[in-house]
């Protein structure tokens, strides 16, 4: 087990993730959601799966899904979350 590589990977990803979209989303959702545990597990598992894909598939991950489509779907997802927070349906926040 190459501990030095482990530390390098940890620091690289930790620094690049601080203040990244996904962490900002975790903060926003973590504070406003009735189930912060679900936000943590959802966010952590999504990030792990994405990095697992990155590690396993390597460069071909980009071929997997066209970048624009993926970013567009992500924008749609975040937009829906934002709308649900800014204009909750009348019967109260269900997020």
């Amino acid at each position: 087990m190459d501990f030095q590589l482990f530390i390098v990977s940890f620091i690289t990803v930790f620094v690049s993730e601080l203040g990244d979209k996904s962490q900002l989303a975790a903060i926003a959702l973590g504070g406003s959601s009735p189930s912060p545990k679900a936000v943590f597990f959802g966010s952590a598992s999504a990030l792990l799966l994405a990095s697992l894909l990155g590690v396993l598939l390597g460069e071909s991950t980009a071929l997997l899904l066209p970048k624009k489509l993926v970013k567009g779907l992500a924008a749609l997802g975040f937009g829906l979350l934002a709308v649900r927070l800014l204009w909750p349906e009348p019967e109260g926040l269900d997020l």
Binding site: F10, L29, S33, P34, K37, A46, T61, L73
Partner: protein, 125 residues
């Protein structure tokens, strides 16, 4: 690697516990329903946002260069769990200091900014 105590305190009560421990507004729906709905919406959105994100590219390059993806994945995974945990804990800390309605508005605006950022990425390429 012993998990830092915040994680164990988060997982202290089993998920199917009926009493929801979150202190924000309690939605009366069954605990299971809310948990999975929030889990899914968070998972899908963050997963899509993370695909092709710079963090994933960094992980990809590290694993290709080092040719030991398992170690890279362990390091990256721990970092991702830590930042997610920090994010949610910070969100909860804010929730204790700001009124729910203000927090929801700020969270909504923040998510809107992320959306605009993503659209900017698409248009910019």
């Amino acid at each position: 690697m012993s998990a830092p105590n915040p994680i164990s305190s988060l997982q202290s009560d089993p998920i199917e516990a009926t009493a929801s421990t979150s202190n924000t507004s309690e939605t009366p729906s069954a605990f299971g329903g809310t948990f999975w709905r929030v889990f899914l919406s968070t998972f899908v959105t963050i997963f899509l946002a993370e695909l092709g994100d710079k963090t994933q590219v960094a992980t990809l390059l590290l694993s290709a260069q080092s040719r030991s993806p398992v170690v890279v994945f362990l390091g990256a995974g721990l970092a991702l769990i830590s930042t997610s945990l920090l994010g949610v804990l910070l969100g909860q800390w804010l929730a204790k200091r700001i009124s729910p309605s203000t927090l929801d508005t700020c969270a909504g605006i923040l998510l809107l900014l992320i959306t605009i950022g993503l659209i900017g990425d698409i248009v910019g390429q």
